[in-house]
């Protein structure tokens, strides 16, 4: 029982990080149908900014988190303007290769300037663990921070999407971008806004993973990036609740598999579950099925 609760805590922390990244994937995909492979590297850059701010400028956790989110959201907008906007009308695969080239560019530019070695993220949060159930279950303050920040960001996102005018424009654009444009919505602005929010969430995830695992490196974004995309597809890409559900389920599954001695197989299990879910429910767990019209 204690074991189960302990795994639940670890799974939720890992799941929060996947969920934050999956939100960025799902929003971008929902609006311009692009698998933004550079998203995982924005997360890496977020982690590095957090690292630089806490190590060299001795900033605290919250200022670093906010500055990191601001910088990554700017980076996301710049990438969208330079790389994806000129290709909006061309084939999907072209945009995809562009996304991959941006991803390589970010990874190796960071490697060139920051060096390929892994860096140790400073311990900005006082390590304070709470143990309960006769000390069999240990919960670190980090886990609580990660979960709380994730929840706050998700609620904020939900408010933006559901309550604001920009959110309404986002939903309209993802539903039918041409019709939205005819209704006077500035689609370019909406897309930039989507990239800004998605990248900010990825930046936050980067800082959180930095304090969670205490180590960062220039290629840290590629596999978590893929897995966050898997999480988004698992939950139903294009839907925000789906990304959250997918992220948390993926985190749980990985923790459970690792805890039962299958840590070397944990990535394989994640992808296997993805394939099975896609075969049974091709639009993901919460995705709406779209009728094809001729």
């Amino acid at each position: 029982m204690e074991q189960v609760i302990q795994q639940l805590i670890n799974g939720i922390s890992l799941g929060s990080i996947y969920a934050l990244m999956a939100l960025g994937y799902t929003m971008v995909y929902g609006i311009i149908n692009l698998i933004n492979f550079a998203h995982g590297d924005i997360y890496m850059i977020g982690a590095y900014i957090g690292f630089a701010l806490t190590t060299f400028l001795n900033l605290g956790f919250f200022p670093s988190l906010i500055i990191s989110m601001a910088v990554t959201s700017l980076l996301g907008v710049v990438i969208e303007k330079i790389a994806y906007k000129p290709l909006r009308k061309s084939a999907r695969i072209t945009a995809l290769i562009t996304a991959i080239s941006i991803s390589l560019l970010l990874e190796y530019t960071m490697m060139y300037f920051a060096g390929p070695q892994a860096r140790t993220f400073p311990k900005v949060l006082k390590s304070k663990s709470i143990s309960f159930l006769k000390g069999n279950v240990i919960m670190d303050i980090k886990n609580i921070y990660i979960l709380m920040i994730t929840l706050i960001l998700m609620i904020a996102l939900q408010c933006i999407v559901k309550k604001t005018k920009m959110g309404k424009a986002m939903r309209a654009t993802s539903f039918d971008s041409e019709a939205a444009e005819l209704m006077g919505i500035n689609v370019d602005k909406v897309i930039s806004f989507t990239f800004a929010i998605g990248s900010a969430l990825a930046g936050a995830a980067g800082v959180l993973v930095g304090i969670y695992y205490n180590t960062i490196n220039p290629l840290m974004g590629s596999l978590p990036g893929l897995k966050a995309f898997v999480a988004a597809v698992l939950g139903g890409i294009g839907t925000i609740p789906g990304a959250v559900l997918g992220g948390f389920s993926l985190g749980m599954i990985e923790t459970i598999v690792s805890a039962n001695g299958g840590s070397i197989y944990k990535d394989a299990v994640a992808f296997l579950i993805l394939i099975i879910v896609l075969l049974l429910k091709p639009n993901g767990l919460l995705g709406k099925s779209i009728k094809e019209k001729v």
Partner: protein, 315 residues
């Protein structure tokens, strides 16, 4: 349709001449082993790219797991030649067949998915193959598979490249090939015309996987050593980049793409720190200024008149 018409005879004699020239240059040592290595790598890349072009460029099925088939072929060939001591052609044929079987097994369920969902499912398949290979001790696991006999030479590499290109080119001119192209153009319309779309998609997938297996076999028996990480997601992306760079739906585009990209990465060896950055910038530039790739979906023709006559004879 005559097999030995003017165009075909010209191409065959051109290919034989090309083969003999390189064979002489390599055996006399004018081209050293380093260049030979790169030529064989180019051949392997051409085989991979042409196979993936059949799947992605001509049938329109977006696969991100092509390196997995290469991996299956490489390991099959390694087991057959190194562990079982069989001759190379047994290894090469069985690699192709086993990869094609893997293609069919993974293709039948996943090819029902469309577009990006198929891409992500094949990506998942590629990662699963890699992780399984990492955990089987018989084939070396994460340490890699050592001491594979070196059988691949210019003759094998060139022969297999020509085989792959000719077979796929002829396949595309056949009834089945046109069915595949119809699926790319409009899957629903193709189905309405009575084309069994699942069958042809799986067929294209199996042929692409077959040649990826052969490419893997050539790779394993050239480099003595393989490890699962050589066939990861980035390798699949590399192959896809060649195909898109050359032009989706252009066989000659894939060949040119493989050669150009290999030469670019060869030239960038000297600036190893900046290599990937420049590579990414070149890729980005090509996609921005020439989104359809070098060749678009056109074929490159030297003997325009001869080839056209050839086409009309076939039509």
């Amino acid at each position: 349709m005559k097999v030995f018409n003017k165009g075909n005879l010209l191409s065959i004699s051109g290919l034989i001449l090309f083969y003999i020239i390189f064979q002489i240059l390599l055996s006399t040592g004018i081209l050293d082993t380093y260049i030979e290595l790169n030529i064989i790598l180019i051949c392997i890349n051409i085989i991979l790219a042409v196979g993936l072009n059949l799947i992605t460029g001509f049938t329109g099925q977006f696969s991100l797991g092509h390196a997995a088939f290469m991996s299956i072929g490489a390991y099959t060939s390694a087991i057959i030649t190194a562990k079982l001591g069989q001759p190379f052609f047994v290894g090469i044929i069985l690699s192709g067949i086993i990869s094609a079987l893997a293609g069919i097994i993974i293709g039948i369920p996943t090819l029902r998915l469309r577009g990006d969902y198929l891409a992500i499912a094949t990506l998942g398949f590629g990662e699963i193959v890699k992780i399984i290979a990492l955990n089987i001790d018989y084939i070396g696991g994460a340490i890699g598979f050592n001491d594979i006999p070196q059988y691949t030479n210019w003759t094998w590499a060139f022969g297999m490249t020509v085989l792959a290109v000719v077979l796929i080119k002829n396949f595309l001119n056949s009834y089945q090939g046109r069915a595949c192209i119809a699926i790319r153009e409009d899957e629903i319309a193709a189905e309405a015309m009575g084309i069994n779309t699942t069958y042809y998609k799986v067929l294209a997938f199996a042929i692409g996987a077959f040649f990826a297996g052969i490419a893997g076999s050539l790779y394993a028996n050239y480099f003595y050593f393989i490890k699962p990480d050589s066939f990861d997601f980035m390798k699949s992306i590399d192959i896809l980049v060649i195909v898109v760079f050359g032009g989706l739906g252009s066989i000659t585009g894939s060949i040119i793409g493989a050669i150009v990209l290999s030469v670019i990465s060869l030239l960038l060896q000297s600036v190893s720190d900046l290599r990937m950055i420049i590579y990414a910038l070149i890729l980005f530039g090509i996609m921005l200024f020439r989104p359809t790739g070098l060749m678009g979906n056109q074929e490159f023709k030297i003997f325009k008149k001869g080839v056209n006559a050839n086409d009309s004879a076939k039509g």
